[in-house]
Amino acid sequence: MSRADAVLDAPGTRVFLTGNEAIARGFLEAGVGSVSSYPGTPSTEITETLVMLAKTYGFYTEWSVNEKVASEVAIAASISGLRAVTTMKGVGVNVASEPFHAFSYMGVRGGLVLVDADDPGCHSSHTEQDNRYFGREAHLPVLEVGSQREAKDMAAAALVYSEEWGQPVILRTTTRIGHSGSDVVLGEIARQSRKGHFLREPNHWVNLPANARRMRAELIDRIAKIQIAVNDIPFNSIEGPKSAQWGFIISGAAYGPAMEALSLLDDEHQTRQKVRIFKLATPFPLPTKKLEEFIDSVENVLVVEELEPFVEEQLGAMANRLGYTKRIHGKDFIARTGELSTMALTGTFSRVLELPDPFEDSKALELMKSVQVELPVRAPILCAGCGHRSVFYAMNVAERKLLKDKRGGDEGFVRPSDIGCYTLGFQPPLTAVDTHFCMGASIGVSTGFAHFIDNSLVATIGDSTFFHAGMPPVLNAVFNRANITAIILDNQTTAMTGHQPHPGVGSTASGEDTVAVSIAAVVKALGVEFVREVNTKNLTGLIDTIMEAVSFDGPAVIVAKGPCIVKYNRELERAGTKIQRYYIDEELCTECGKCLRIYGCPAMYRLENDTEKSKKWKVRINSSLCNGCGTCGHESICKFDAIKPLDD
C-alpha cells in the first residue's frame, strides 16, 4: 500500500490520512513550488509524501544536508517567487534559527512555511522545546494545528497567509497531530505554474545594518497588521453559549483531549452551558480584539495549552494593559510537562467547575498503575544484524584489551555518541554511550574532553549526522590538536527516520543519480592523517583498528561501513535473493549463554525461560528475526564455533 496514493485521491473524496499526510496534501492544494527539508521525527512523512509526488505535479523537492541549508533553499524559492516549504522536527528549528531570524526582517515574495513538528512527551526527541517562543522571538506568525482534521486546510492556508502577510509563517504541529489519522475530505490540487525569477532589490535582499534598521521598523509594522488580520481567520473560532461562567482558551493539540474531557463531564452536569470555548490557532500574534471580546463575555478564564505558559503569559500582559481584574488561569491548574491527556484535563476541569472527577478512584487507572510495576519496559534496541552492534561490541573488546595491556590510559574510554539509531548503543549489554545531546556533538565534545580528561575518547556518529553537523568538529580536532578517535557509522542511509538518502548515497530525494561523496576522502581533506575504512561484519578488523586508532597520536577516524540491514534485506527480498541466516548447533553449544548475554541480538532467545534457576542457557536463533550478519559467530562471542550458517 503506497500511502502517496491516498494523498492523491480525487477532490471531494473522504480518505483516511495521518496528520502529516494531510499537511502534505494541503501544500499540494496550495500550489507548493519547492520543498526542502532534513528528516526528523515527527515531521519526516510530510516531505517524504511530497517527494513521491514532486515530478507529477511539477514542483521541486530535496532532502537537504541539514535544516539550515534546507531553510536557505526555501528562502531562495521564496525570493524567486515560488511558494516554499521546509519541514523539520522541533529541535531542528535550532539549526534553522539564523536564516529565519534574518529572513524575517526581509519578508517573503512567494509564501514560505516552516513546518515545526514539536514533541511534547519526548516520544523521539531530546527536549520538549516549545517553538511558539521561537516564532515570537523571530517575528514569525505561528499557526498551530489543533486536530489532524484541520491539518490539511491549515497547511494550505499557511502558504496563502504567508504571501498575503509578506512574512514567513510557522505551521506548528506535534507528534500527536502528525502521527494521528482521521477521515479528511480532499480539495482541488493546484498545480504550481510559477517560474522562478530573481528581482534585483539590493535594499531588500541585502541585510546590511543600514537596511536592517529600516527593515526592523517595517517588520514591527507588518506584525501589527498581522495581529489585526488573525482576528478574522476561520481557524480562530469560538463555540458554546454567548456568555458563560468560564471561558476556556484552548491552544493547539490540547483541543481534542479538552473537548473530550468536557463531553465526559457534560452528561450529568450540563457543562457545556457553563463553558465558552475559544479555539486558538494563532498563539503568535494573538488575535487580541477577538480575545478581548471573548474575555468580556465570561466570568473566569482558563488557558489550556501544552508545555509552556506561552499564551497565558501574553494574556496576562494584555489583561494588565487593559486593566482587567479577572484572573487568567492556566499553569496553576495544568501540567507543564508532556502531552495533555483527556484524563488529566477532566481532572482539571472538574476542579475549576467544582464537579466530581469521574477518573477519581478509577479502577482502570489502578489496574494500569499496578501492571506497570510488574512489567519491565520494552525499550527500543538495535535491530538484529545491525552493524552498529558490531562497532559498539568491538569498542568494548578493544577497551578491555587496551586496559589489560596498560595502553590508552587507565580509566578506559569515554564514548560520546550522537543523534540516530546508534544512540541505542546505550542499552545493555553494549552500554557504550556516555554522552548524547545534539547533532554533531559526539565529535564536538570529544574535541573538548581531549583537553580536560585523561581517558581515550571514542566518538560514534552516523553518516547522515556526520554530513549534517559532524564535519566542523572533525576540523576542530585537527585545528586544535585534539587527540580523539571518531567512528563514523556509515550505513549508507538516514536510517532512524526511515531511510532517506544523504550526500554519501549517490542519489537524490527524487531518485536521480548524483555524486556519492566519500566520507574517508572528506575527513582526509579536513586534515585527518589516520583514516581507515572497515566493514562492520569484520569484528576482528574493527577491534584491531579501534585499538590502533586509539593508540595513534592525533585525531583518528574510522569509517565503519555496512548497509542498514533492514533496508538491505528488504531490497534482497524484493529481488528474490535468499538471505543467509544462522542457527545454533546444539551439539557444539555448551549452553554457556555468553552469546545472548554479551551481544544482545534480538534474534536470539533462551529456551525454558520459566526455569530461571537453571544454569543452562539453551540459546536459539529465531530464523524469522535473524538478519544474517553472522557476526555472532565471532570467536570472542562463541569460542565453541556453535553458530553456523543455516542451510535450508
Binding site: 500500500m1 473522504r14 483516511f16 521525527t41 516520544h123 523521539s124 489532524q148 507528534t175 500527536r176 502521527h179 494521528s180 489519522g181 482521521s182 477521515d183 475530505v185 483541543y255 481534542g256 473537548m259 473530550e260 474531557a261 465526559l264 491527556s341 483527556t342 484524563m343 477518573f359 479502577k363 482502570a364 487507572l365 489502578e366 489496574l367 494500569m368 498503575k369 501492571v371 510488574e374 512489567l375 519491565p376 519496559v377 520494552r378 525499550a379 527500543p380 534496541i381 535491530c383 539509531c421 541505542l424 542499552q427 545493555p428 549489554p429 533492514v566 549463554g593 545472548l596 548475554r597 544482545g600 541480538c601 534480538p602 532467545y605 533462551r606 525461560n609 520459566d610 530461571e612 524469522s624
Partner: protein
Amino acid sequence: MVDESKVEVNYDIVIAGMGGQGSILASYLLAEAALIDKLPVLSTGDYGMAQRGGMVTTHLRLGSSARSQKIPVGCADLMIGCAPSEALRNIGFLHEGAAVVLDTLVHIPIPVYIDKKLTYPTFDEIKARFDTSFEKVYAIDASTIAQEFGNPRIMNTVLLGASLALGTIPISRAAMMEALESKLRADLVQINIDAFERGEEEMIKLL
C-alpha cells in the same frame, strides 16, 4: 459522506504490540474499512522508535463523538494484543465489559536475559491477569498459525479476523475484505484473506 445513522456509534480499539509486527498496518486496514462503511474514524499511535522492537500502541476510535486521539483510560471496547505483555501494559484503557484478543507468543525483551533482577510473565500469567478483570478474553495462536502459513508477518491479520468474528466491531465483513483487497500489495492479498478467515474460524471455535 458520513452515514448519519451511524453518528451515534462509538467503538474504541487498542492494538498493542512491538515494532515490526504490523500493528500500525492493522490499524490502517481497520480505518480504511471503517471509511468504506462511512464511519468517522480517528487513530493515533505511539511509535517514535518502533522499527527497533520497542512498544507500539495504536488507538482506533470509530464514531463521531470521539474528540481526543487517544482513548481515555477505562473507555476502550476491545484490545487486540499482538504482543501479550504489551496488551497487559495497556490493560487500563479497557472498560469492564471489554473484550480481549491475545496472540499467545510472549516476546521477552533482551534486558530481561541480562539483568538477573528482572522477571517476565509467561502467557498463562498474562492471561490469568486479564481473566481476573474481564470475562471475554480470547487466546489465539496467531503467531503459530502465521508460521504455518509460511509468513510470520500475517500474524496481525489472523488477529484481525479473530477480532472481527466477535461481532462487536461496527465494521462489516464486506468492508474489511474490500480494505484487504484494495490496500495491500497485490501479491499479499490472498494470503492475508486466508489468514483473516483462519482467524475468524479460530474465534468461532472459542465462542
